[in-house]
């Protein structure tokens, strides 16, 4: 009997601890700030094995003057979270039409970048040291386009709150090397459901808000949640840029060979559509 009772007690104890575990699971699985930012980085910049999209950028000045940049951007990952290749083909404005831009992105060191100028049939190597440089004159920097590695910043989970309709983690990121970037602090609102950034606030060294990123539209494409409309606003100058991604395709089996000088000089339809 004793044995039986003990046994029963044992079962009860086991059941109880399982129940506690089950109840405690959401708390135990509370991701760390580093985990959130790593997942956000993968969701935003590594969705699928490859991707292609027609991007229309609207550059709007404070007085409402508008410039349009239209391009086809293709990406191919060599390793999830690691090396990537980007190919950009410009459709407009006319003075950059047919220009192509190739980036081999490596984690932990400078990208290799090549620009092809069709009027001169010239492939030019581009210095890639400053990732904060504007991408095609927009408020998006190179880093905003191809991602900033989470390891470059120290992250702290500040709170959880609603961003619009969505629940988000609010993470503060401080660059480990302050000299290489133009922000001293960044706040990110990361969507709990998709891990995509819904909003980012960049603060300068004086602690003032400098730039604000907003993910305006999220769509699920082939199972991958994607920010298909994004805005970056320079709140200090009033200038802002909107990027809309259309005809987005994932996993088109874009060969890594496409991301080479051969296709930079003569891009195939896969990279210009």
């Amino acid at each position: 009997m004793m044995v039986l009772r003990l046994r029963r007690a044992g079962w009860v104890a086991l059941g109880a601890s399982l129940a506690v575990l089950a109840l405690a699971r959401p708390v135990a699985a509370q991701p760390t700030a580093d985990e959130i930012m790593t997942k956000a980085h993968l969701a935003m910049y590594y969705a699928g094995e490859d991707m292609r999209a027609r991007v229309t950028m609207r550059l709007v000045s404070r007085d409402g003057g508008e410039r349009i940049r239209e391009l086809t951007m293709s990406r191919r990952d060599l390793k999830e979270g690691g090396e990537q290749r980007y190919f950009i083909y410009f459709h407009r404005p006319p003075d950059v039409r047919d220009m192509t831009f190739l980036v081999w992105k490596y984690p932990g060191r400078d990208d290799d970048r090549w620009l092809y100028i069709p009027a001169l049939k010239l492939v030019r190597r581009i210095a890639a040291s400053d990732k904060r440089s504007s991408f095609a004159g927009s408020d998006f920097s190179y880093e905003d386009v191809s991602g900033r590695e989470p390891e470059e910043d120290t992250h702290k989970l500040l709170r959880e709150e609603k961003a619009g309709e969505r629940s988000a983690y609010v993470v503060e990121s401080v660059p480990k090397e302050s000299g290489s970037v133009d922000f001293a602090r960044k706040l990110s609102w990361i969507d709990k459901a998709t891990w995509l950034p819904l909003k980012e606030e960049y603060y300068d060294r004086r602690g003032e808000l400098a730039r604000v990123f907003t993910g305006e539209e999220l769509k699920e494409i082939q199972g991958f949640w994607t920010v298909t409309k994004r805005i970056m606003k320079n709140v200090q100058t009033g200038h802002w840029s909107e990027a809309v991604l259309a005809d987005l395709r994932y996993n088109q089996k874009l060969s890594a060979d496409l991301f080479s000088e051969r296709y930079l000089r003569a891009p195939p339809a896969e990279l210009t559509r």
């Binding site: 001169l120 190597r125 890639a128 504007s134 003569a266």
Partner: protein
């Protein structure tokens, strides 16, 4: 100035050249035909451009050969329409660029077929047939292994940079492979550089300025005179590596005196071999290029009229020192291989060139107003020969379709130096372009 052919062998090649021209016409017709073109919503693209360039300063004396240049204040005054068409049907493509322009200085209209070619792609092979612009090497306005024709007159006068390059009429074959890629170019129809000539708008160093009887011989198409250029290239550990070889001709003429007296300009044989590397170093891009110019017709160096064999080398570095501000520096050297014999052979009164021509260049580019305003400065200076060229330019994209640029080409130095001879062409220019 009359031009006649030399080396008349190989009517087959001439036929090939004619076929090439015919082929160009076919490409144009293909591009324009309603079935393949307009009916599918063929986009006609291009630009309308107005350009003017005026001479500032005019050094004395004025040689007879340059009476026109000494009189003329305008180097450029023109309106230009460029039409660009391109189509592709899977593995086959075609493209063409045609310039129609009115030259207000001479009040004449003309046509310039900038490029027209057919592209074929199959497996690892890319074939391009027709008039095409070719650009190789890693130099910034310094050319070692880029042996393809250039329009030096356009460059000196103040045309947009793209007009420095001229198309080559030939065939390019590229074989792409993961190990290395190989591009071979065959050019049966030689096109020389466009260079300042007697009777033209540009001033230049002319030791025989009093002799007005002149003619130019160009190599005529034959198997033997077909230019062949090869480039073997690959990227390794982030470095773009290339080997080059060329068999053809100097694109700038040599000259000899004939009875009369008449000056004969001709293009001596050239074999060139070289290599280049370009990659990231210290947050910037470093470039190295080497080239050996084998001047077959004057290997001994005893003919002062023909370039000696040379060794050319280049070191370059460029870096974005802060967002939208890029600086670049180059050191370039041109080593004459038989300088003693060259000096001994030089006619009296002709100033000798140095055994090594050292050249330093600097480029500064600042982009402003969301990259719509570009301030550029390019400078080139030879510390040992003393000549200097610099080109400041301001370019503003007024709208997405319209840009305007103003700048100057300044040449300084003694009359016999490479850039100093153009002192009398120092100019200010303005270009406005509406692209559609």
């Amino acid at each position: 100035m009359n031009r006649k052919g030399v080396g008349g062998r190989g009517s087959g090649v001439r036929r090939a050249a004619r076929l090439l021209k015919l082929g160009s016409l076919v490409v144009l017709i293909l591009l324009l035909s309603p079935e393949t073109g307009a009916a599918q919503g063929l986009p006609v693209r291009g630009f309308l451009q107005g350009a003017v360039s005026g001479r500032v300063g005019d050094p004395e004396p004025c040689p007879t050969s340059q009476a026109r240049a000494c009189r003329e204040n305008f180097l450029i005054g023109e309106e230009r329409l460029q039409l660009e068409l391109s189509r592709s049907w899977g593995w086959i493509g075609a493209a063409g660029k045609l310039d129609l322009f009115h030259d207000a200085v001479d009040n004449e209209a003309d046509v310039d077929l900038r490029e027209v070619y057919l592209d074929l792609r199959h497996g690892i092979v890319d074939l391009r047939i027709g008039r095409q612009i070719l650009t190789w090497g890693v130099g910034d306005l310094v050319f070692i292994n880029d042996v393809f024709p250039k329009d030096r007159v356009a460059f000196i006068s103040g045309f947009p940079l793209e007009y420095l390059k001229k198309g080559s009429d030939g065939v390019s074959v590229t074989l792409s492979h993961a190990l290395a890629s190989l591009q071979l170019v065959f050019v049966p129809h030689f096109r020389p550089d466009t260079f300042p000539e007697a009777g033209g708008r540009l001033r230049f160093f002319d030791p025989f300025g009093a002799i007005t009887a002149r003619h130019t011989d160009e190599p005529s198409p034959s198997v033997d005179t077909t230019e062949i250029a090869g480039r073997l290239f690959r990227t390794l550990f982030g470095w773009d590596l290339a080997l080059y070889a060329y068999r053809g001709f100097f694109h700038l003429p040599s000259l000899e005196m004939e009875s009369g007296p008449t000056l004969r300009f001709f293009f001596p044989r050239l074999y060139a071999y070289g290599a280049s590397a370009q990659g990231n170093i210290l947050n910037g891009v470093a470039s190295v290029e080497l080239g050996f110019y084998d001047s077959e017709q004057d290997r001994s160096g005893t003919n002062a009229g023909i370039e000696n064999s040379q060794f050319r080398y280049l070191l370059g570095y460029q870096r974005e020192i802060r967002p939208d501000l890029t600086v670049g520096f180059q050191y370039y050297g041109e080593l004459m291989l038989e300088h003693d014999r060259y000096r001994a052979a030089l006619p009296p009164g002709v100033p000798p060139k140095a055994a090594v021509r050292h050249v330093l260049t600097a480029r500064l580019t600042q982009l402003l107003l969301h990259q719509t305003l570009r301030l550029g400065l390019f400078g080139l200076w030879s510390p040992n020969e003393g000549d200097l060229f610099f080109n400041p330019e301001v370019k503003y994209n007024v709208t997405d379709n319209l840009w305007a640029a103003v700048g100057g080409n300044f040449f300084v130095g003694s009359a016999h130096t490479e850039f100093g001879q153009f002192e009398g062409n120092t100019n200010l220019y303005a270009v406005v372009r509406y692209a559609f």
